[in-house]
């Protein structure tokens, strides 16, 4: 025979953000550390080598921060004008940065004075990057040109003049030393090959390109500009794979998570969105206080650094998971007892009889199974359950009503117990999802306790509160109905077809209007 069937707890959809493994992962950061810089933070770059310091470019300075330091451990400030795009080399020992005056400077991390200076651009250099062979630097400038520099003798090797507007972003391939891409305000993203004298692929983004990003494999290119983030398949000759429009304002920066599974984009609308790189759906988003200009993720996503227009650098560190292990371990049974009988191999003629699995019942279910109805009601009216999970309480009240014993369960309570029930009613009566059940319970309570009313001021006060609540609710309903009538009239004049009204009415009303509780 079938066993006891537990009470069905009505599950309601949780409003707001759904809890997924992504939200759990990206919410698992400590509260951000705010660092004030001198101007808008235009670039944040992590050193690819331990200890994973990061370079922050703001105004005419470049600060190097240690991973957990709040103060810069090093500062490069020998720029006459605004510095741009301080970028580490792959080995983390060299740093290159462009500047407003058109110069490019190469620094040794340990030194202070620039090792090399590349002169040749006539206007501000907004993007610089090292090529994959470490000996060249790619730069793009507002003079519409893209140049390739040789580091050892600080000479210009190549100049590409294919862009017709400012070149504001670029990125060198991590695999091929000769390939790099640049994005420009002329709405194009071009891929150049140093072995030829011209671009090999050019794609039309449609908006001024603010940021480009090559996947580590080099097969996919991500470009950001305007409100769009676009993903291009470079192996198919620059075919548009997907176009994402999830921001309200210009997207300024792009970043890949360390696993390559997630793509992050920061925008002037003060949001960072996290996309899955398989489905290109937004899986999470962060809010920041100001418009975001730059964004970087540390090794293993340990730190998220976001630079904003107001000069604030927001640094979020991942919560350490080691804490959980530090709890004192309970002594467990010996390994021998633990595996006892588990490693027995079933012989051919053995008949396996499993121990009947014990069905776990909630405490209220155990009470209901044994018809301890008042106890079950008491249990779900405990503040712990009634506040955190009111749907369980309501489901139990509903179940008691279905069994026809709600009046018995509510009767015979003293002042403290009845005020607990009334508190719950006052808190939840006006919620449309609970109202039908709770109004019935309230009516029963009033019927039961009407003869003894006036004996306890505490309970009387609660009753008055309940009455006020119901009156207020009736007023609301009346107003809602009036609004609905008005809207109906508006819709009726708008719709041409008189025969059909395709309007779906608001379903939540109508519960309370014909309910009046006299106390």
């Amino acid at each position: 025979m079938a066993g006891y069937k537990p009470v069905v707890i009505q599950a309601y959809p949780v409003l707001g953000e759904k809890i997924t493994q992504d939200t759990v992962y990206w919410n698992n950061y400590k509260t951000p550390v705010q660092i004030k810089e001198f101007g808008a933070v235009s670039k944040v770059d992590f050193s690819p080598q331990p200890p994973y310091n990061y370079a922050v470019t703001a105004s005419s300075r470049i600060h190097i921060y240690g991973r957990y330091s709040q103060e810069p451990i090093k500062t490069f400030s020998r720029f006459k004008d605004t510095a741009y795009c301080a970028t580490f080399r792959q080995d983390g020992r060299l740093l290159v940065a462009g500047s407003e005056d058109g110069g490019i400077q190469l620094f040794d991390i340990s030194g202070r004075a620039p090792l090399r200076q590349f002169e040749g651009h006539t206007k501000a250099v907004h993007t610089v990057d090292f090529t994959a062979d470490k000996y060249h630097v790619v730069s793009g400038a507002d003079d519409y040109t893209v140049k390739l520099w040789d580091i050892p003798n600080s000479k210009e090797i190549l100049t590409f003049k294919e862009h017709s507007d400012y070149v504001r972003c670029g990125c060198a391939s991590k695999l091929n030393p000769d390939l790099f891409v640049t994005g420009s305000y002329d709405h194009t993203v071009k891929m150049f090959d140093a072995r030829t004298n011209q671009s090999v692929i050019s794609v039309e983004h449609g908006q001024p390109v603010e940021s480009v990003l090559l996947f580590p494999s080099g097969g996919l290119l991500v470009s950001a500009g305007g409100r769009y983030v676009k993903v291009w398949d470079m192996l198919k000759g620059g075919q548009l794979l997907v176009s994402l429009k999830n921001h309200h304002k210009t997207v300024t920066c792009l970043c890949l998570s360390s696993s390559g599974q997630r793509l992050l984009s920061g925008s002037l609308d003060r949001k960072v969105k996290v996309y899955s790189t398989t489905s290109y759906k937004v899986v999470h988003s962060f809010d920041y206080a100001a418009s975001i200009l730059s964004l970087a993720l540390a090794h293993e996503d340990e730190t998220i650094v976001v630079g904003m227009t107001n000069g604030i650098l927001s640094v979020k560190h991942r919560k350490s998971e080691a804490k959980k292990d530090s709890l004192p371990r309970r002594r467990r049974p010996a390994y021998r007892t633990f595996i006892k009988g588990k490693n027995y191999m079933k012989q051919q003629d053995d008949i396996l009889i499993n121990r009947p699995s014990k069905k776990h019942l909630e405490l209220y279910d155990r009470d209901l199974k044994n018809f301890r109805i008042s106890k079950a009601l008491d249990r779900v009216l405990e503040p712990d359950c009634a506040i955190k999970t009111p749907e369980i309480t309501v489901s139990i009240i509903k179940e008691l009503n279905r069994r026809g014993v709600l009046a018995n369960a509510l009767a015979g309570r003293d002042e403290k117990e009845i005020s607990r029930v009334l508190n719950f009613l006052i808190r939840n009566l006006s919620q449309p999802r609970f109202a039908p059940v709770l109004i019935n319970a309230a009516e029963i309570i009033i019927d039961i306790y009407l003869p003894v009313i006036g004996q306890s001021p505490v309970v009387d006060k609660k009753f008055l509160l309940l009455q006020g609540l119901v009156e207020k609710e009736i007023d609301y309903q009346r107003e809602l109905l009036e609004t609905l009538g008005m809207m109906d009239m508006l819709f009726a004049t708008m719709t041409r077809k008189e025969s059909t009204s395709l309007l779906q009415h608001n379903t939540s009303d109508g519960f309370l209007e014909n309910k009046k509780i006299e106390s």
């Binding site: 025979m1 069937k5 039908p436 059909t500």
Partner: protein
Amino acid sequence: MVEVESLRVVRCGGSELNFRRAVFSADSKYVFCVSGDFIKVYSTATEECVHILQGHRNLVTGIQLNPKNHLQLYSCSFDGMIKLWDYIDGILIKTFIVGCKLHALFTLACAEDSVFVIINKEKPDVFQLVSVKLPKSSSQEIEAKELSFVLDYINQSPKCIAFGNEGEYVAAVRDFYLSVYFFKKKTTSRFTLSSSRNKKHAKNNFTCVACHPKENCIATGHGDGKIRLWRNFDDEKKYTYTCLHWHHDLVMDLAFSVTGSSLLSGGRESVLVEWREAAEKNKEFLPRLGATIEHISVSPAGDLFCTSHSDNKMIIIHRNLEASAVIQGLVKDRNIFTGLMIDPRTKALVLNGKPGHLQFYSLQSDKQLYNLDITQQEYINDYGLIQIELTKAAFGCYGNWLATVEQRQEKETELELQMKLWTYNKKTQGFVLNTKVNMPHEDHITALCFCNAEKSENPTLVTTSKDGHFKVWILTDDSDIYKKAVGWTCDFVGSYHKYQATNCCFSEDGSLLAVSFEEIVTIWDSETWELKCTFCQRAGKIRHLCFGRLTCSKYLLGATENGILCCWNLLSCALEWSAKLNVRVMEPDPNSENIAAISQSSMGSDLFVFRPSEPRPLYIQKNISREEVQWGVFVPRDVPESFTSEAYQWLNRSQFYFLTKSQSLLTFSTQSPEEKLTPTSKQLLAEETLPTTPFYFILGKHRQQQQDDKLNEALKNELVQLPLTENIPAISELLHTPAHVLPSASFLCSMFVNSLLLSKETKSAEEIPDDVSMEEEKESVDSDEENNFTEKVQDTNNTDLGKDIIHQLSKSEEKELRKFRKVDYSWITAL
């Protein structure tokens, strides 16, 4: 089918199993129960129905084992006959004609050749217990007119009569008193409950009685849930009684165990209570039996109990209160809201079952296949409780989807509605809940239907409600990057001038949806959900709505409350024809254009079968049932029949079943009653001489196979005698040597198994030229004697075996023996 007889309405299964107490056979292998005009014999181990004893012409009202021969069974019926059956073979032995309506039957071991029956003589409410002397005669039908009166003014239910202490007395209860008749003293004592004398509405009336098998003790059940144990009742002054109280509602039945050490009771709580030593403290429970316990019976061997339940179910329960088998018939004790449906997968009839369940019932085997728990809530059986009702259900997409609607209404304004959508899971072979919709509408749902068009790629469901809306639900992809999921969402809400929507129906190709709003039928395009046209006949609210099929798909049929059947042409948007017919049930045949309509008049229900293309019916059958027909359904046949007569051609591909208000399931059949009534199960009850041990499976099968082989070879007339397993020396050696002197089992195993496998080799041995020397022939005689049992078996199997073959047999047998001897020696040397 050469000659077609007239079409008859026949009852098709689903009769009550819980009408009377079940009776166990003496060895507890079978349990008998009355089932309409039949008696059914079930195996207690396999739940299988082994025999149906047919012969009574009216409701069978009582069965009892013959106390003198426990392989025979007495039965009595409303047709005034007592019949004696051999239940092992399912043969009617004798019929005793009493002549008046018999309400119950009792037998007593001490009462020689007479049985006790309950009859009512004059007034309809006055019942008597009489003993009927069964005359001894060799004829099949005997008049038994010798009635002797025992007790008067008793309750008609057999639960209210009990014979006690090996037939010393009989106890009967009615209303508020208990009467005991002592056979020896021929006196009747009457006991009245003192508290009930002056109360008008006292609830402690007697409901049932049981007598202790050994002692002078009577247990009575009462309407207030108390059980009273009466003692010393031979003295009208000094009688005493004790009370046992656990039930909170009336006690439905009581039974003492065979030894009398414990008392079983059951009631509406669906809990079997066992009172040990008749003490209030020692009680054991078997809860959650599903429905009200109507009857309790105990097997004569004492190892099994059987409870009959109001949901047409019998549960076989072990002595240690463990349910071991459930025999479930068609559940019929509730209102059928869902109507009759056919599960496209199993072809089972689907309708309301247990409270909150949907039952799948096989029409072929008259057996419930399974119950689908829709409400998934603990069922509390209590009087006056408002339960959740399963009101609507529909299958869609070839049985892949099932939609159900359940409702509970306590007060006018408080309606709880829930719609559930179930998907068929191929892995578990069952329906799994997919989507739950709370309050899909604001008022009762009046109809729901799936779009069952073949080409439709997206499953669509339409619900109509009294709140004036109809809603279209579609299956949508709910999956995100983490999981794949599908769910149902509302796609469209339509209404028409705030009239109540009453019916809905999709056309066969799924392109049109017809929704009726009270008197008006609206046609909607299922692509755009635009209103295409409306039909209105001003002939009352639409009760049924259906599209024509196949060649008649341009017609729409509607039956109204005022008794008008309308047929509209969808191409011309005009009324094609209408007829005055008070249609109760209108069902289209899924395999043809035919539509069956059952009309209701004061005379009874009539069946009309017609095609929408012409108003003249194909077939009319008047007066199919005296009562109102509630639901009907066409069931596609597995094998199409070919009726030559034009009038019956509508039954070629489908069969029509219908359910009347009293919930009897009926169908049409052209077969003669005898043909129809041939027992469904002809298998012989296995001769139970051999116990079915694992060893039997090895040896018994082996022997069976040998017998079969022998039969075959006898036919070919070159019969070879095969050795019996008993005669194989290796086996007899093995079985007769004391275990402690035998070598280890693993050592003997291969030899033992080899000796069993020899039968194959004998066939080849037959081809080897016979080189038996003369001196060894002597032994063959011995082996003949050894094998005479085999021959007997063989004789019984095939009687025309000549004696001349025996000699041949012995020769080959002898050959075998020699071989075995070799085996035997090797076995000993191996030691």
